[in-house]
Amino acid sequence: MQRPTDQPIFLDHAASAPLEPRVAARMCECLRDPALQANPSSAHGPGRAAATIVAQARAQVAALIGAEPAAIVFTAGATESVNLAVLGTARAAPVGHRHVVTARTEHRAGLESCRELEREGYEITWLRPGSCGAVSPEQVGAALRPDTALVSLLHANNEIGVLQDIAAIAALCNERGVPLHADAAQSVGRIPVDVNALGVALLSFCAHKLGGPKGVGALYVRRRPRPALRPLVFGGGQEAGLRSGTLATHQLAGFGLACELAAQELPGEEPRVRALRERLWAGLEPAAPVWRNGAVEPSAPGILNVCFPGIEGESLLFALEGRLAAASGSACSSASAEPSYVLTAIGRSELAAQASLRLSLGRGTTAAEVDAAAVLLVAAVLRLRRAAPPTASERIA
């Protein structure tokens, strides 16, 4: 996809990555093929033709995470997957199991579904990660109780990119028979993710973070042992009764191909994007003081979250407007002036959180873009620092 020169440098892949052109082509094929227009649940020939596309997509999506196709439940996105995992498991838990463990730094999909559980009478243990941004297996182990119905944690944090040690946490959970859900929306397709190696019971992700279309996602549900799940949505009984509703053939075809392409390109892309991220970080040095939020590693390769002490976030974004697209906080909250709860939870002050920017790189990102972005950022920061009262960099941090 050629980026027209009037488009800003796009460093917001964590909010949504551009659709892979081959995926777009495949989806358009599906949308236009008269033989693929029927409902994939219909028993007739055109229905079965659509069902074949769905089955292929399911296999491609499953393969990316090392799962059996039958373990994939298609949803409308990671938000729905996370809700199905969190609300579905907790509501289906044995009587008396009304305790859930999660972290304060979860994506809002996990956070708000746990808040909903609180309203329904569940007790939530809200773990607070260290300044690295990850909760430790020890913290999780200490929080487990006989009545714990679920542990739900991010794999890669969507704001700071840090990875949590899901495999170690899963080992603890599996020992205790507690299902572990990982929200892997920011890791699947960006780093190798294998559900068996991780040992999770449930894993959420979506297409639009890995080159696929918006509006479609998946929940991996382990087969043996299979966590009990109560659906969110009831109806025709699609997806083994876990998620009713007509399957969207073209969306799934796109999701499937995106997963296949991501799997193919991951070995090259992961180190490439990681190196570009470090190059971007190095390019920001002239804007010192500049801090990095969260641990550098282990991390998803494409996320760099930086704090420019002394800088007001809205002015920084406005200074970059039209030239660099990045996020303060996560996409869904960046329209509001609230400081990032993730950054404050890992110990940044509110002012430092407001002086922070998430720069997220992806498949389309080039070295030239990264260099240009660094130049833009440094110029904007230096200009705003000069405009600020002299001690701003100390006071606003």
Binding site: G310, E312, E314, S315, F318, R386, A387, P389, A392
Partner: protein, 130 residues
């Protein structure tokens, strides 16, 4: 966030941002800081013969805050001791077409201006009372 053409222009040029030009007279300053509200404004001016002859600002805040500080600095030039403040937060909000939630920050600009004007009046008063 939508920004009016004036906010865009002021943010792009930041007129009167930085240092005062050198010159005769006394330097007065006014500062207001409300970090929790997202604004910190410092105005400096040169007072000569009961009149502000130059003014500069430094500010930390959103584009509206910076724009408002620039307007305030501009309007302060020519102000005479004993006359009313040349502009206030509501007037700044109207000029910049600022949304309601920005008023708190514009009040910080007004506070900085008032502080400066009070300082200037205090300096000047004994002189003119003679």
């Amino acid at each position: 966030m939508e920004y009016s053409p004036l906010v865009r222009k002021l943010f792009a040029t930041l007129p009167r941002c930085g240092e005062l030009t050198a010159g005769p007279g006394t330097t007065v300053a006014g500062e207001a800081m409300a970090l929790e509200r997202g604004a910190w404004v410092r105005l400096e001016a040169r007072l000569e013969g009961g009149r502000l002859v130059d003014c500069a600002f430094r500010a930390w805040g959103c584009p509206h805050t910076l724009g408002a500080a620039a307007i305030a600095a501009e309007r302060l030039v020519g102000w005479r001791v004993g006359t009313p403040a040349p502009v206030n937060a509501h007037a700044l909000a109207a000029l910049l077409a600022a949304p309601a939630e920005k008023l708190g920050r514009l009040l910080v600009v007004e506070d900085a201006m008032q502080a400066l004007l009070q300082g200037a009046s205090g300096l000047q008063l004994p002189v003119s009372a003679h």
